[in-house]
C-alpha cells in the first residue's frame, strides 16, 4: 500500500521536508537554548540535516554503486560518488569541531563553573 513511496519524486519530497524540519529544529535550538551542550547538539542536528538532504537528494535508487570493476564499466549508470565523499569529509570535520568545542567547554567549566553561553561575559566592553 506504500508503493507510491517508491517513486523518486515522493522520496525526494519526503527527504527534503524531513531534512528541512530537522534543520529548523536545530536552528530553533541554536536560537533559544543557552546551555552550551545544547547549543552544540543543535549545531550537530543542523549539520546532520544538511548531510541528509544532500545524500537523500543526490542518491538515485535506479543507479548502482560507483565502483568500477569487471562488470560495471558504464559511468552513466552509476551513482555520483562525489556527494558521499563530500559528506564523509564534512562529517569528519564537523565531529572534529564539535569535539574541540566540547573540550573547550569542559575546560571553561572547570575554570569558571559556567555553562550558559549568555553568561560568558568575562570581558564585557
Amino acid at each position: 500500500m506504500f508503493e507510491f513511496l517508491n517513486q523518486p519524486e515522493v522520496i525526494k519530497t519526503i527527504v527534503t521536508l524531513g531534512a528541512m524540519s530537522l534543520f529548523f529544529v536545530g536552528l530553533f535550538g541554536l536560537l533559544t537554548r543557552k546551555h552550551i551542550v545544547k547549543v552544540f547538539i543543535s549545531i550537530a542536528i543542523m549539520e546532520s540535516a544538511i548531510f541528509l538532504l544532500f545524500i537523500g537528494l543526490s542518491f538515485n535508487r535506479e543507479k548502482v554503486a560507483p565502483i568500477i570493476d569487471a562488470t560495471q564499466t558504464q559511468v552513466a549508470t552509476m551513482n555520483d560518488p562525489i556527494p558521499q565523499a563530500m559528506i564523509l569529509t564534512a562529517i569528519v570535520i564537523g565531529m572534529a569541531v564539535l569535539a574541540l568545542g566540547v573540550s573547550f567547554a569542559i575546560e571553561y567549566y572547570k575554570l569558571t563553573g559556567k555553562t550558559e553561553i549568555d553568561t560568558m561575559n568575562e570581558m564585557r566592553f
Binding site: I82, I93, L100, G101, M123
Partner: protein
Amino acid sequence: MSSTLFIALPLLFGFATPLLSRLGKNALAYTSVLMQLSLLGLALSLLLAHSSTTVELISIAAPLGISFVLSTASLLMVLLFTLLMTLFSLYYLFQRRANAYANESKFFTLLNMLLAASIGLVLSSDIFNIYVFFEIAGISAYILSAYSKTALALESGLKYLLTGAVASIFLLFAIVLIYLHVGSLNLAVIAEQFQLLPYNVKLLISLLLLIGFGFKVEVFPLNFWVTDVYQGSTSLVNALFSGIVVKAYLFVFFHILYLFLPQGEFTLFLLYLGGVSMLVAEVAGLRQTNLKRLFAYSSLGQVALIFVAFAMQNIQAVQAAFFIVIAHSLAKFMLFLALASLEKTEQNMHIDRLKQIDSPFLMVMMFLAMLSLLGIPLFVGFVGKFLLLKSLAVEGMLTLLVMVVVASFIEAIYYFKLMGYMLHKGTRSEKVEVSLGEKMIFVSLGLSLLLLGVFPMSIAGFLQNAAEVLLDQTAYITLLVGG
C-alpha cells in the same frame, strides 16, 4: 607544481614539529623561519619569473579533481601571508619570552596549519576545497585563540568556535545547493551555469554564502563576536588574525562573488553594508579603554573599508582594496606585535597604562602604524584610502563617500586619543626592553609602510594587474574549463 608547495610545505612542517622540536632548544623556530623564508623566496621568484597574469594552474585528476590557480592576485596574497608569517616566526624567535607558550611544537603546528589553510583558501578553485580550508583555518584559529587556556582565552576560543561552526553550516548548505543544481564543484563550471538557475535558488545560495562568509569577513550584523575573540586571545595571535586570516576570507568571498554571484542591486547592497559596518564599528570603538578590544574595533572598521573597496567591483577600487589590504595587514600586524612587546607583564592593557610605559622606540613605531591606519599621506594607508575614495567620487556614490570619511574621522578620534596618552608628559615608571631583533622587525615594517606610501608606484602596477585578474571572470573560466 610549485604552487602546491605553498600548501604542502607548511602542512608537512606542521606535522613534523614534534620531531623537529627534539633537535634543540630553538630548532623549531629556526627551521620554521627557514621554511617560511624559502616559501617567500619561491613566491618572489614566481613573481619575477612570470610576467603574465596567470602564473600557474595545477589540476589534480581533472576534470573532477582538485585544482589550484595561482594567478597574480592570489600570488599577491600568498606573498603577503608568507611575508607576515616569516616576520611572525622571527619575532617569536627574537622575543625570547620565558614561558609564553609552554608547548612550542603544538603552537608551531597550528601556526603552519593556519598558513597552509589561508594559502589554500586563496588558491583553491574548487568550492568544496574552499570549505575544507575554511574549516582547517578555522580549527587552527580556534585553538590558537584558546591557547593559553585561561578563562578569557577559553571563552574567546569557544565563541570563535561556535560562530565558526554556525558559519560553516550555512556555507555547507550553500555548497550542497550549488552541487545539487549545477552538478559540479569547480568554480568555473559553477560560474558558467549559475546564471541559468532559477531566481529563487540563486537568491537562496547568495544569501547563504553571504551569511556563511559574513561571519568570517566580520561584516556588520554578523560581527558581534569579533571583539571578544580579539580581547581573549593573545596579542601575538591577534596579529595573525587581523593580518592573515581575515584577509584570506575576504579574498575568497569576493573571488566567489565576482565569479558567479548576482550583480546589480546585490552589490549595491553590499557596498552600503560595508559602509554601515565601518560606521558602526568605529562608533562602538570610540569609548573603548581596553587596548586589544580597541584595536579589534579598528580592525572591524578597516576590514569593512576593504569590503567596500572590493564591493565596488572596478579595477581602480579593487586595486585600492589591495593597497588597503597591504597597509592594514602591515600596520595592524605591527600594532599587535608592539602590544605583545608591551604586554610582557600583563595581558589586557588598559589605555591608561600607556602613560606609564617608557619605551620611545615602541611608541614611535606605534605612531607610524596608527598614522598609516588613519590614512595620513606619506604612509601606504593613504594611497589605498585615496584610491578608494577617488573611485567612489568618480562613480558618484557621495553618500558612501561621506560615510567612509565620517567613519575615518571617528577612527581618528580614538587613535589620537591613544596618541595623546602616549605623548602624556609625566614620569614614566615602566621600562620596556626591546631586543635588537624585535627592533629590526618593527623598523622594517615601519619602513615598508613609509616607503610604499612615498613610492606607491613601485607596486601599483602589480596591484592593478592583480585587480584585473581578480575581476576578469571569463579568463578564469577559460583557464579552468577551456575555451
